[in-house]
Amino acid sequence: MSLRLVSAALLCVAVTVALAWAVLDRPLPEENLPDRVAAAMPESGVDHPVTAVLLNFRSYDTLLEIAVLLLAVVVALALREAQPDQPEAMGLDNPLLRAVMAWLLPLILIVAGFLLWAGSYQPGGAFQAGSVLAAAGVLLRLAGVTTAWLDNATLMRAGLALGLLTFLGVGLLVMIPGAPFLTYPLEYAGTLILVIELTLTLSIGLTLISLFRLTPPYADDPDEAREQAGKTP
């Protein structure tokens, strides 16, 4: 039993006990935030409370959260360029999977669209839809389908940037009448949120795909990868 294990065990027990104490001894709060959310729902522009919180009441959190996602991609890009990976054949090249994909893809896109649209009045929204999109992308890759538009680095990056830029743009745009950042006017709130969600879905999907690949797609082509490697002395 190493010192590391003992200290880990001790720390674990201490934290668990402290947490248990905290949970047992917890007083109930006086503030009732759910009520406030419910009261403000009519002004939020959407019908689903979680979406309202995510994209209206606490939209600033979501903005920063997208920045976190983007950060992961930036680091992945930076490291990929600094130390190009061995070019590798990607995809299982399974004809069956490819055939299935041809059928599955439209379905997945429909699901993503539904999730996005549903988000305004029931569970679902940009993140869920985005991850479904990402799943589609991942499957495409696994099936070995070469998608030219996914291999276009500039287009890819533009896609990555689109969501955050739109979010920021809308946030700043609504300030022109003199309101604080991200204050949607009531009559446009629903539309604006939908626009943001739409672009976010696309960006999140692309972000997750690039995170899965940990790289921009171009390095998949061996020649291109070598070329990339040559550019970085």
């Binding site: 905290a22 503030e31 920045a67 976190v68 950060l71 204050t183």
Partner: protein, 486 residues
């Protein structure tokens, strides 16, 4: 109307620039600073002007009031930190533009990371919402990790990994603390917490978790192990940014939450414990810095030591009289700002010295004072502030802390300040000693571009000047705080 704009611009602008710099070609990435720096400076100065003219204010994002929406707090403390960030980060950016020319194209990813880091930091300074602080911490922390990894050498990757693990663990502890606080008080807003905070088990556990998480992120002794490799091994402008600004982010949150929860909730025992850990950091960091052979590692350990001084804030502000508490507040903030300026200057000038002799070893600096007097001069000015010798920000901060310690009858902190100063003198002069030595002559040294020297010198001079004119910044920093009346 403009005032409404400059507050969100402080984080929106760097975010936008971060994305843009990802879209443009590597050669164009550094050039975005010529758009970003003036605008951010303008926004920061505008925020300051408004603070001075109109007083502190709350900015309601999305037009939603506090418990429902996320508010930003634009008080003296936040504005002070914003200005500090603008100054230090701008100069580091100017430095990096020249410095990174010699590095492979992949290092141009420094720029998107810089902007996102900046956005995260400004987000933290302005945040009034404890969950928003969590997201801000993640933006800042992950950007910092990315910067450390940028070099992509095995050492850099190991350092980045270690840093990342510490940062992740720290954030989770913080998040759990936030979860407990939300469950107890039903609000995430600091103003709401301040009103409702009561001493009970859940709050204490939450506070403990938050403290632990933030200590890990601030790298307070004995949780500092990740810092020296990360700060000492990174690219020079990255080291400067991380040591000067990033660790301040988590300390700042701790300071705010401590004051928000108030003296009823924050136990004196914990305060003293934090002070003791700070003292440990001062001694251990100073001792380790003195033992280093690698110039940037020395500077990195110096950061470990200097963090310790900041933590004297807690014992000096908790359970002491109003006068002592005010002095502790003033002194800690003076220390914080002075350290930010001086440490950035120290890293940048250390980078210049390393460029000049082509080696990171301190023993290779023999006779360098003859060839690079300006780099050494910046190093010296910054060193003066770190040693706490007059006239400098470090000295003024130390003076205030001493004053506070005497007023609150806690003489044991005097010893920490006394020995800490001597220890830092020992490691600073270790470098000087070598530079004055006339050993086997190095007849040539590479002359780094002037920009590198000038940026370091500006930062170093600022760390001196802030001590001489401390009156005004300290007055601004107090605006809107509990010590504002003093």
């Amino acid at each position: 109307m403009i005032g409404l704009w400059s507050v969100p611009l402080l984080f929106a602008l760097p975010l936008a620039l971060g994305i843009l710099s990802l879209l443009v070609t590597p050669a164009w990435r550094p050039r975005l600073i010529f758009v970003g720096l003036p605008l951010l400076t303008l926004a920061s100065v505008d925020v300051l002007a408004r603070l001075v003219l109109e007083g502190p204010r709350i900015y309601e994002l999305g037009g939603w009031e506090a418990p429902l929406g996320i508010n930003l707090v634009v008080d003296g403390l936040a504005v002070g930190m914003i200005l500090m960030t603008t100054l230090v980060a701008s100069l580091c950016a100017l430095y990096a533009r020249v410095y990174l020319r010699d590095y492979p194209a992949s290092s141009s990813f420094f720029w998107p990371l810089l902007w996102l880091l900046w956005a995260g930091m400004n987000g933290i300074w302005l945040a009034e919402d404890i969950f928003n602080l969590y997201v801000g911490l993640e933006v800042m922390g992950l950007a910092a990790v990315g910067m450390v990894a940028l070099r992509a050498t095995p050492q850099a990757l190991a350092a980045a990994m270690r840093y990342l693990l510490a940062a992740l663990l720290g954030s989770l502890a913080y998040l759990l603390g936030v979860a407990l606080l939300y469950a107890t008080y039903g609000t995430l807003s600091m103003a709401g917490l301040q009103e409702a905070a009561a001493p009970n088990a859940t709050t204490h556990v939450a506070l403990a978790l938050i403290i632990l998480g933030l200590l890990l992120k601030t790298a307070l002794f004995p949780l500092h192990a990740w810092l020296p490799p990360a700060h000492g091994g990174a690219l020079t402008p990255v080291s400067a940014l991380l040591s000067a600004l990033v660790i301040k982010g988590s300390f700042y949150i701790l300071m705010r939450i401590w004051l928000v929860l108030g003296p009823e909730v924050t136990p004196i025992f914990t305060a003293q414990l934090l002070g003791v850990l700070g003292a440990g950091a001062v001694f251990y960091g100073g001792w380790m810095a003195w033992r280093q052979h690698h110039l940037k590692q020395l500077v990195a350990y110096s950061t470990v030591a200097q963090i310790g001084y900041l933590f004297l804030f807690f014992p000096l502000v908790t359970g002491t009289g109003p006068e002592a508490a005010r002095l502790a507040w003033d002194g800690t903030l003076m220390m914080l700002v002075a350290h930010a300026l001086a440490k950035a200057a120290l890293f940048l000038s250390a980078g210049n010295l390393i460029l000049a002799v082509g080696s990171t070893q301190i023993s290779h600096l023999v006779g360098i004072s003859r060839f690079r007097p300006m780099s050494l001069f910046s190093f010296g000015l910054a060193g003066v502030s770190l040693m706490g010798l007059p006239p400098s920000g470090g000295f003024t901060g130390k003076w205030l802390l001493l004053h506070s310690a005497i007023l609150s009858d806690q003489w044991w902190w005097l010893i920490v300040l006394f020995l800490g100063g001597l220890l830092s003198a020992a490691y600073i002069f270790k470098v000087f000693r070598m530079s004055f030595r006339e050993g086997p002559q190095i007849d040539r040294s590479i002359t780094p571009p002037l920009t590198l020297d000038v940026t370091a010198l500006i930062l170093a001079s600022a760390s001196i000047l802030i001590g001489l004119t401390a009156h005004l910044p300290l007055f601004w920093l107090r605006l809107g705080s509990a010590f504002g009346a003093g």
